[in-house]
Symmetry: C3
Subunit: 241 residues, 3 copies
């Protein structure tokens, strides 16, 4: 009956953001896991590599011996579930990319982001390797569908993200030949990446999946805060057989 989901957060986030989504999934009869990636959360060291992020996810799945699950990646999380899928292909029922990066072999996240983000992150990177997202960018480009109170409350849950997770090149030798079914969930008001053919999420990233299922819902990049119940329902629609 129910499915098992493994939910992988994006940059500046940790596992806590998924709590209302998990509550809804469980209410509908599903199970969900939401590990925090290496280098994420407030107290984590920011000097981690992209490979460390991937290893922390793979370790979590192996340690809990999870099988036959739907693996979901949000935003930066897409770059983590791709190499994880290469290592764990026989455990994964379907991959779901939710407004997530889909890298080509040898690319990094910032290869697929607009130049103004790179310039901004160069300016604000801290000595420990962490980068915090500025409030004005968060407010309008990330969570424009929230009222100001919710935007602030959610901003308080963020923490600096390890810059190397955006700049390390990611080897993906077998991803494009994996036989795992794939879905892309697109929030139609997501402008965390500038919409359009050059830098938009969909269809630029989704079309890289080859054969895939498309699910869409209204909402910003942060529907996890502004509409977690609908997000959970759409993850089921994207993840089901």
């Amino acid at each position: 009956m129910g499915y098992t989901f493994v939910l992988v957060h994006g940059s500046w986030h940790d596992n806590q953001a998924w709590a209302p989504v998990i509550a809804r999934l469980e209410q509908q009869g599903h199970k969900a896991h939401a590990p925090t990636l290496a280098g994420h959360a407030r107290d984590a060291s920011k000097s981690v590599s992209h490979a460390d992020c991937v290893a922390s996810l793979v370790d979590y799945i192996r340690r809990n011996d999870l099988k036959d699950f739907i693996l979901v990646g949000h935003s930066f999380g897409g770059t983590v579930i791709q190499p994880a899928a290469e290592q764990l292909s026989d455990r994964i029922r379907r991959l779901v990319f939710w407004n997530a990066f889909v890298l080509n072999d040898g690319e990094c996240l910032e290869d697929n982001a607009p130049p103004h983000y790179k310039a901004l992150f160069d300016q604000i990177e801290q000595p420990d390797g962490g980068v915090m997202l500025p409030w004005p960018v968060w407010r309008d480009a990330f969570i424009g569908d929230a009222d100001e109170a919710l935007a602030k409350k959610a901003y308080d849950m963020l923490s600096p993200t390890p810059r190397r997770s955006h700049t390390d090149k990611v080897p993906l030798k077998t991803f494009s030949s994996l036989q795992i079914p794939k879905s892309y969930l697109n929030c139609t008001e997501d402008i965390a990446l500038p919409p359009g053919p050059d830098f938009g999420w969909h269809p630029r990233m989704s079309n890289r999946l080859g054969l895939y299922r498309l699910v869409q819902m209204p909402g910003s990049h942060e529907a996890i805060f502004t509409n977690p119940a609908l997000l959970a329902d759409k993850l089921v629609e994207a993840g089901r057989d």
Copy 2:
């Protein structure tokens, strides 16, 4: 009060798929006809030309002496209502293209489809000229908004489509100068063609109509199965004066 609709199905379909749409249209006070095109349906010979498909529609309309109707084409059906409109322009109140191909003079359907479809169809074409759509493509790219049970039930209603209907060049000498009003109905989750400027339905196909009305609704390429009532309502919105 009510309008008369002539509903032209797409590839792999026949007239049966329209039944719930027709029920809704009639409930709202409209009339609807849904002929099966030559070479379509399970028991039909697959060795028909594109011109045979067009002739079967034109004959149906003349035989039933239909006048002042809204002519709707879905997907491949767009390539059939275009030449039919050239022959029957004085009978048609409005043309509605529902996620349909809009050909330029002398093109065929496959001229407007991505190369991977041509390669696939070359591989799977049967000796009798028929081509069946593979289940994985159907499940995720055509009917991604259905649950698995509905996806299977609808797949069982499909039959091989005559390949020549996709590859015969279609002369369209007068279509662009016809004075018939035109609408395009776009399902926003339709990825039967890969979304984007190169191969997407909208606005690539719709903009070829010149002055047109745009109606959109949520749903996949097969909203005829997943949401026939809303589809009927949107066909009225697209087709009304």
Copy 3:
């Protein structure tokens, strides 16, 4: 609690079109002003410049000593709120572009419209400098979501628009460096400009704003007539802090 809105209409419109939107805003506790721009409305002289339109807006705001307001521009109105924002930057809380033009320094509206509009307007411009929008274009490209009765009723409220407001080049020396927050409200069925990268509203115009908030709603270019209550609610979502 409530916000103050200044609502700037588009071409062929005057302040009357905003009445149902204002009623809804006031019902929700907001205040709203809707001046008629120079050269607009039925009895106005059509021999006005773009600068006259801007001056009429700036004068209205100064005369009423409006401060701390959300300045909204629809369609052509975008080209008016841009220079007004340069002159009144300290009075404006946020700029909202609703399916509006966003000009680069020294451009005019017709620099950003498809050639077929220029050709049409050249043909139908009257000796007094006014241009009326033809009914077929209005019916399908501007207000395709209305039934015919509403489309006609709304058409009767239009009046010729001064051509120079579309062809005068607009100096915008400081707009791109203004620190005023910005939003773009996009109606998803708006095809008054042909959708797509060459001429579409969004993201072609919206991306010119740099950092901005995106709000979307269903509807045509003329949701002011077809769904004024939702339009008002979305203007609040776009305009709030």
